[in-house]
Symmetry: C2
Subunit: 480 residues, 2 copies
């Protein structure tokens, strides 16, 4: 099991970070000089750790929900400090959603029913569906999307014959968890030249190859907007995928945690749920779909909450009952994460005291991400030897990098992936911490890395420039 | 996979609860009359859901840590509302422990190093160990103890030959997770007559039987103080267990989440870590021990946080590296749960403004639990046909109940565990929701249930009385 996003390069970065911030911890003769003052962490989609501010209103509600009433919502001075809509929302959460028990009790194993209803309302509104298209009994609130994904893969992989289709490249929670559970990864390639698009021929090819090897493929992972690739799939592409899964009776796992992060004005987020409804597959009961969402991405970027949910659509009642038992073994997801999820799907409404500031803060985050997506993808694309698709969405660029033959040979002699060697070099020379593309999977002979574009705009401009200069030096070093 | 604590009886109780609190939701002709006004939930150790108040100071720190600084610790009015030691601790958490990123960022996969150091200090102090006996690199902060237990069992059960020794009776997260992962449960019986004690002969018998069946037993679960049994094991018993595990090279999983919940003045909590040190097994590097703790129990009762940790002792570096990768797949545990764990292991110190109230609130919770432990175990023990060991610790009684032969036959004809039928009857007649003992495992021919003693003292007195009257009626019904 490998986990590149927190793998070898990141561990090396953490060590250098310690040396830089606490030089006294090292004996004098071991202290290294580094040609930079700090590590730029672009290895992980962790917005608050690189300067994004939390949105104020959800944090106020969260704080008020945690305080005992006599020092919180019922305290006379609290009105001087907090807006009315934060106090009233906290009261609703404590008294209604959490049934008067507050934030310190276990909730229902799937999360409080009123929160699950809010999630249903959100999905129906987002997708333009009829009221009642979502069922709160089919919502499971989870410790971030990660734990939902782990739970579903645990349920799907009964033995070593079970296979799960995953994109190449993909986010490593899938490969790592499938390996850990002893299942089979069945990769399908995204088409880099066409902006990481998916085509049905490749899906059919991948599935047929797996079947020929005796693998029992039972599920299909879609990540849209893409991670690490940043593409946003069209309505047509999503419809082709839901039909492919229905045709082959594959459970579709739709990782849609970047649904708010769409920057390209010609693109839009189109959910698998909506595609399943609009193709008639829901009506025909012809598709099993599990969709994941999270508070960690979007514009809140509240990674530390571990808030998230999954929605089951078309999943048999007995399977749902089994998932309920699995959720019950963990008792429930964390309540602050549930609250943040509820606040994400139902913010202040027009006319509420916090409405304007909430919208303004969210827009500030969105506009900044949009500008940085362009700085990064245009910047990398302009480096000779780099090729970088446009980051239409998500938080990442995934450039392909031409490496000198001599570098490739040297890495292979050392039993190292060439792009890991490249990423270590980039780290040691510039302090920029990226993840080698080999950690996500890619076509044979391709090399590259994944970087977020989360640091500040000034920092991202410096990152692009430093990557460019490092690449020139690296190529020079290996051509001589 | 079964999960009794949230199983059949609880689902029935929830349905009745809905009927009682929201009668309009049922069509008129379907509305049932119930001979009680509310459900008494004694099925789960969820203190805040049955009236226990949260301790104030940790909630204040948590709230302050979540607020953005300009509306939180730096706001001039905040000093009028919050004690200085809550504000300063929140500042320390945000600026030092969370490295300035606040509560919205992912932390290190194992939790922030400063929190892990606090946990080490706590363990060393609790156990009277030398400074440095615990290593922060061997602490993993987790979403409650549940997710730590699931992670470790996932790592230990590589295939269907792997066996885990578990007590009978046990807490169902072990049986359910082992079943889910396809491993083998290897039960060892606790001795009910001797207050649920453990003896080495029974451990050797159980292990030898499993080996004879070809099971590769690699680990051993100890729950102390016991769940569902409430016993607190002696120093001698714990030392025998660590030696047994060392002798047979079994990884010892020490579930010590009730370590603060010891009510019997002749008993004390004695950790497996301390036993491993005092028997010399740590020095000899002869034992692999993983200990679990949680914010959900003790005196905080902060179940909704999903805060907890595990400590590895004597575990190989490469195994620890694998666990780090598993933890990384979930990125990190939730930050509010980490903060609550930090506050649990390091409360206000003598002289701090909140010290006295914090101690007073904790004592209030402890004294109440101690009185109710006695009300419940003495009360059940006095019911003819009941036998209930003293609840020395934890939050539960686990009485044995003699059932009429006719009741046992009827249940078996209906394919039901007799004590499930009994628990359903108790629920329908009295509104008291207990968990059938068969959900935890017990000797053949034994019947009974587990109940918490968490509801208020008045309510517990009523519960004991109602259980007594129900038992008389139940026996009468089946003797006629």
């Amino acid at each position: 099991m490998e986990y590149a996003v927190r793998g070898k390069v990141v561990i090396a970065a953490d060590r250098i970070h310690d040396e830089l911030t606490n030089p006294q911890s090292q004996p004098h003769h071991l202290r290294k000089k580094h040609p930079f003052s700090h590590i730029v962490y672009t290895n992980i989609g962790n917005p608050h750790s690189v300067g994004q501010s939390p949105i104020t209103w959800p944090r106020q509600v969260l704080a008020l929900a945690d305080l005992p009433n006599d020092v919180g919502i019922d305290h006379p001075k609290i009105h001087e400090l907090f807006p009315k809509d934060a106090i009233e929302r906290a009261r609703y959460i404590k008294e209604s959603a959490l049934e008067g028990y507050g934030t310190g009790a276990y909730s229902h194993s799937q999360g409080p029913k009123l929160f699950r209803q809010e999630i249903c309302d959100f999905i129906e509104k987002r997708d333009g569906l009829d009221a009642g298209s979502c069922n709160p009994d089919c919502i499971f609130m989870t410790n971030g999307a990660s734990s939902a994904i782990e739970m579903i893969l645990t349920a799907l992989i009964a033995d070593t014959s079970c296979g799960v289709m995953i994109p190449i490249p993909q986010y490593p929670i899938y490969s790592a968890t499938i390996d850990l559970l002893g299942g089979k990864k069945v990769g399908y390639y995204l088409n880099e030249e066409k902006g990481w698009d998916m085509n049905t021929e490749e899906l059919e090819r991948s599935l047929a190859d797996a079947k020929a090897q005796g693998i029992v493929v039972n599920s299909f992972v879609l990540i849209n907007p893409g991670n690490p690739t940043g593409q946003v799939l069209s309505r047509q592409a999503i419809k082709r995928i839901v039909k492919f899964c229905a045709k082959h009776r594959l459970v579709l796992l739709a990782d849609e945690v970047y649904q708010e992060n769409v920057y390209d004005e010609n693109a839009e987020f189109y959910s698998c749920k909506r595609a399943a409804v609009e193709t008639g597959l829901v009506k025909e009961d012809a598709l099993e779909l599990i969709s994941f969402h999270s508070t960690s991405k979007g514009l809140l970027g509240e990674c530390g909450r571990r808030g998230g949910y999954m929605e089951l659509e078309g999943v048999d009642r007995d399977v749902r009952d089994q998932l309920y038992k699995m959720a019950s073994a963990g008792l429930c997801s964390n309540i602050p994460g549930q609250i943040m999820t509820s606040l994400m799907v139902r913010g202040p409404k027009r006319g509420d005291p916090s409405y304007a500031s909430y919208q303004r803060e969210k827009k500030h985050v969105f506009d900044g991400l949009k500008r940085r997506a362009k700085i990064a993808s245009d910047g990398f694309n302009a480096i000779p030897g780099f090729s970088c698709q446009e980051a239409q969405g998500a938080m990442y660029c995934f450039p392909a990098v031409s490496l000198p033959d001599a570098a490739i040979r040297l890495a292979q002699e050392n039993g190292m992936a060439p792009d890991t060697m490249y990423a270590v070099s980039l780290l040691e020379k510039t302090g920029i911490c990226v993840v080698p593309a080999s950690g996500f999977g890619q076509e044979k002979g391709r090399f590259g890395f994944r970087t977020t574009f989360l640091p500040s705009e000034d920092e991202m401009v410096r990152v692009v420039d430093a990557v460019k200069r490092h690449h020139e030096d690296f190529c020079k070093q290996f051509s001589s």
